[in-house]
Amino acid sequence: MNLAARLFSLGLMVAIWYVAAEFAGSRVLPGPQSVGLALLAEAQSGALAFNLGATLVRVMVSFVIAMALGTALGLWMGRSTVVDRLADPWLVALLNLPALVIIVLAYVWAGLTETAAIAAVALNKLPNATVTVREGARALDRQLDEMAQVYRMGSWTRLRHVLIPQLEPYLAAATRSGLSLVWKIVLIVELLGRPNGVGFEIGVAFQLFDVTRILAYAIAFVLVMLAVETFLVQPIERHASRWRPRAA
């Protein structure tokens, strides 16, 4: 039932696209069949896999860096009032700095390098993760902390079995919003200063007004992220919340 509804909704979207393409003409909005053929051609030449891979690696690396640093900083700020007061203005500044400014400055200061690209993306995501995890750190249960202290649990045990599970809902929220944010910013970073990746390909297609290719790459990458969500993020979440009583 659930799957049928999803398939119907997707089919409806393709049908509307098909009809709209008939009216708009192939240059402005190519139909599903020509986009599908373009996708197939890119896949056969190997360019699709190469560019998707390049983008995906950038997404994963910058996401992991941003989450790790953001979690550490958020925990620190949530636990210590002094650190919170000192770091909060920086955080607000970073939160409100436009992504484009960070990217351009990173390229200007560090050159058109992979390091600059990944650092710029991570820096864009970092404040979101920090803010979310800070809320989680403020809500930590002192009683469990005392229990861990009395039973002399080591720092690894405390981290893995006491701290992280309490932060899990906050980490899940940061992951959800983070993945979609990060991949969008990665595309901009690639457009502005990388010689490969989905963003670079879309940039090239834009210069040629090749809407078919733009759509082909956009759809391919959305499908990849959908797969990441379905086969990676959701199973991890299910595992992490297995102890919660099921909603009736």
């Binding site: 009683q143 469990l144 005392e146 229990m147 202290q149 039973y151 002399r152 045990t157 079995h161 009583p245």
Partner: protein
Amino acid sequence: MPLAGGPGQLDVSIQEKAYRTASGGRHVVLRDLAFRLPAGSVGALVGPSGCGKTTLLRIITGIDADYAGKVVLPDHGTLGMVFQEPRLLPWRTVEQNVRLGAPLASDAELDALFMVLGLGNHRNHFPGELSLGLARRVALARAFAVKPDLLVLDEPFVSLDAALAASLQAELAALVSSRRATTLLVTHNIDEAIGLADRLFLLSASPAHVVADVPIARPRGGHAPEEVAKIRGEISRALATVGN
């Protein structure tokens, strides 16, 4: 009470413990509170609600280090504690909770503990699936599994119905006797204290200090009602002499 300090005994002497109140004043919770608990015996701290029993336990277990005085834990100071609330990790199973508290416990030791406490069928359950009585048993299992040099119990039977409290108390008495753990029990229930302890330490109202040290003949022997009445009489006399 042995005068020489043995390595297995708990030695508590607190000059003062005070809190800063919201209005900026000082509220003294404990003053000149001292007692000694010999190795392998069970001491019950009995006192009125709000007299600072939980504060005292937080000092003894090292959670609160902000006080004037000295606490010497028995032997290596390995602690097993049962808090008023079970304080289990909700995202770990019963067995994982016990193993995380007591990583050195062997499978055979855990099997035995789970059997004695009737937890055999619940090893793979999560705490959210347990009743309060069962969760308390898990907390007890965890405390015993560490083979503590000092076992601390903070009102372990509070908010259980009378029958359940009685059966858990009997299990606890059997465990304490068989393992000879030096145990400190906090309660405001005198009958509970008489049923479990070798000696009672009676606490005054706040600022709390020990007003009497009442030894129990035949501890955990299943006292007849007249014996309990006699001990209760001793307690009232002890309290009367200090004008409390």
